[in-house]
Every structure is written in structure tokens, then in C-alpha cells.
Symmetry: C2
Subunit: 175 residues, 2 copies
DNA sequence: GTCTATAACCTGATAGAC
DNA sequence: GTCTATCAGGTTATAGAC
């Protein structure tokens, strides 16, 4: 992929994670890489096109991280701990999960972006379930774990702290 | 309070719960009650003024509901179940918790609204803690419970279902 | 209280030159 | 690919009449 386009996507993802979809404007996105808004739209046709592409990049990168966790860590409970660490490092940058933020704006997402957002939750839930099963604990907790992680980031960001994510980390150790 | 003003606040709260802060416009809010945007601003000075007022109304109404639960239900675990029911009825109307939605837009909230949003989470956490303590279970779970509820609404709304809230209901029964 | 009229600004998007 | 120029539409907010 074009280098400029890659930069645009990377910055756009980060901006949405911090400020939401309405906090991302084509003009400012162009400024961030030194090109004009018309040039930004050349790469993506329109804003929905940008969203379509960036969420695919985000999902790929995210599940690449999960794959790396699986390779280096065999203990399923520790894998879940590593998952919490990913979210904590995101929060440390004053961001929340991209798909959590998109979910809060779900009413204005086009179908492609909405489907990709759902796909994120489908896949991460499956990943958590698998690890819960391997550890011998109730895999039905997967939906609660991802829900709590998303909610925790949302609230922790408001307080500018990571108290809730840390509580989840402690809780998961007891499962 | 003025009847028109009450209507405006009620509709504004509901609109934000569905579409977020950017989905609420002064013009459309006026249309909903049959007055012009200038007349809406007469009541609140500006949009921040509207947010300041509506979150106070929301918090008051919400904790009034919790107070009613306490009066009619003495079993602390069943009280938590009733709390889940509140959130489920909100989700049934394609809405999420107002403060969850505001949290997702925290970067553009003025200080008053932000403080009131935090106050909501402080108070509900305290309420959950108290009931967990009375039931004899770990009150440290309060932050996880409210996080999971907020996250569950967010994701369930995306899927147009209440699967995650229902899982939380089942989980709470086991505490 | 509500209105009209309008200001000032920001947004995504397009046409056409280079 | 990137630019300039521009458009059409949306937003909050204000001034002043009724």
C-alpha cells in the first residue's frame, strides 16, 4: 500500500480512538500528513471508504497481536492477562478500543464498517472462549469479559486512570 | 420547571442515548417540540448549558429508580438483578446509558458535564458495592459489574440484541 | 417565550489544472 | 498524486421584532 495512505490510516485510527468519528475530519487528517483534504479523498473516495479500510487494518493488526500472544504464551489464563495488557497500553495513550468507539457511533456507520465492527467482537469473543475452555473455566464468561473490558476503557478514560482495567486483571486471575 | 423545557430535556436525553452528542442538534430538538432553534437556546443559553441541565435530570431520575428498588426489594442480589433490568429496558428502546454515551464523547464535554458524568459512576459504583457487601460477596467486583454493564449495552446495541446483558444477569446470580 | 433573519464557521465532496 | 477553488449543506449562536 501507498506510504501516504498507510500514514493516513494509522493517524485516522488513532484519532477515532481518542475523539470518535466526529473528531476525525478529512481536513485535519490531511494536515497531519501534509496534504490537502481533496488529496485525502483521492485515496478513499469518501469518509465511509476511509472507515471501511481502516477498520480492516485495525482488525488485522489486533488479531496479529493475539496470534503473537498464543505463540509466546501457552498458559490460557496468562494469555487473557496479556489481552488485558493490550487494552491497558491503548488506554495509556488516552485511547480506547477502535471498535468500542465505533460501536458508540453505530447509528451512522455504513453496512461494511458495521459488519467489520461486529466481526471484531465475534472473533475476540471466540478467542477468549477458547482460552477459558482450555483453562477449564466457564466459557460463557467470554461475553462478560469483553464487555467489561470495553466498558472499563470507556469509564477509565473519563477518569484518566486504569483502575477498572486493573480490577479486571485481578478478577481474571481468579477464574 | 417550564413544561416546554421539560420536554426538551427529556427528548434531548433520549436522542443522546440513541445517537450520541453529535446526533443531538438544537434545530432538530426544537422541531421535536414545535419551536425554533433560537427558542431552544433561550432556555439553555447554549448547548453546554443544555448538557449541564439534562445530565442532572438524568442522574436524579436514575437514582430515584435505585431508591425505589431499595424500598421494594430487600434481597441485595435481587436488587442487582433489578439494576440489570433497568439497563435492559433502556436497551429495548435502542438506547444505552446516557453517561456511557457521554463517556465516549468525554473529550468535548465541558467541566460541569464531565463532573456530573463521573458522579454518576461514583454513585452507582457505591450502590453496587453496598449491595455486594450486604450479600457477603466481594465488593471489589462493583467496578467490574458497572463496566460490564456499560460495555454490554454498547456491544448489544450494535448487534440489536441483549445477549450480553442477559449473560451478566446469569453471572450476578452466581456471586 | 417565540419568532425571523443572519452571521460565522465547519463539514464532506467535486471539478479541473498541474 | 496533489493542488486550488468552490459548493452545498450543516452547525451553534446572536440581534432584534413581536
Amino acid at each position: 500500500m501507498n506510504e501516504t495512505k498507510e500514514k493516513l490510516i494509522k493517524i485516522a485510527i488513532s484519532t477515532i480512538q481518542k475523539y470518535g468519528i466526529h473528531g476525525l475530519t478529512i481536513r485535519e487528517l490531511g494536515n497531519a500528513v501534509g496534504i490537502k483534504s481533496a488529496s485525502v479523498l483521492y485515496h478513499f473516495n469518501n469518509k465511509d471508504g476511509l472507515l471501511n479500510e481502516l477498520i480492516k487494518v485495525y482488525n488485522e493488526n489486533f488479531f496479529q497481536l493475539l496470534h503473537e500472544i498464543e505463540k509466546k504464551e501457552s498458559n490460557p489464563l496468562k494469555r487473557l492477562d496479556d489481552l488485558v495488557s493490550i487494552f491497558e497500553s491503548v488506554l495509556d495513550e488516552d485511547k480506547i478500543c477502535l471498535c468500542g468507539m465505533l460501536a458508540s457511533d453505530n447509528e451512522i456507520l455504513d453496512e461494511i464498517t458495521k459488519e467489520q465492527t461486529k466481526q471484531f467482537f465475534n472473533d475476540i469473543e471466540k478467542w477468549i472462549e477458547k482460552n477459558l475452555s482450555e483453562h477449564g473455566s466457564n466459557k460463557n464468561l467470554a461475553k462478560i469479559i469483553i464487555s467489561s473490558l470495553e466498558g472499563a476503557m470507556l469509564i477509565d478514560k473519563l477518569y484518566n486512570e486504569s483502575t477498572r482495567l486493573k480490577e479486571i486483571r485481578v478478577w481474571i486471575k481468579t477464574l
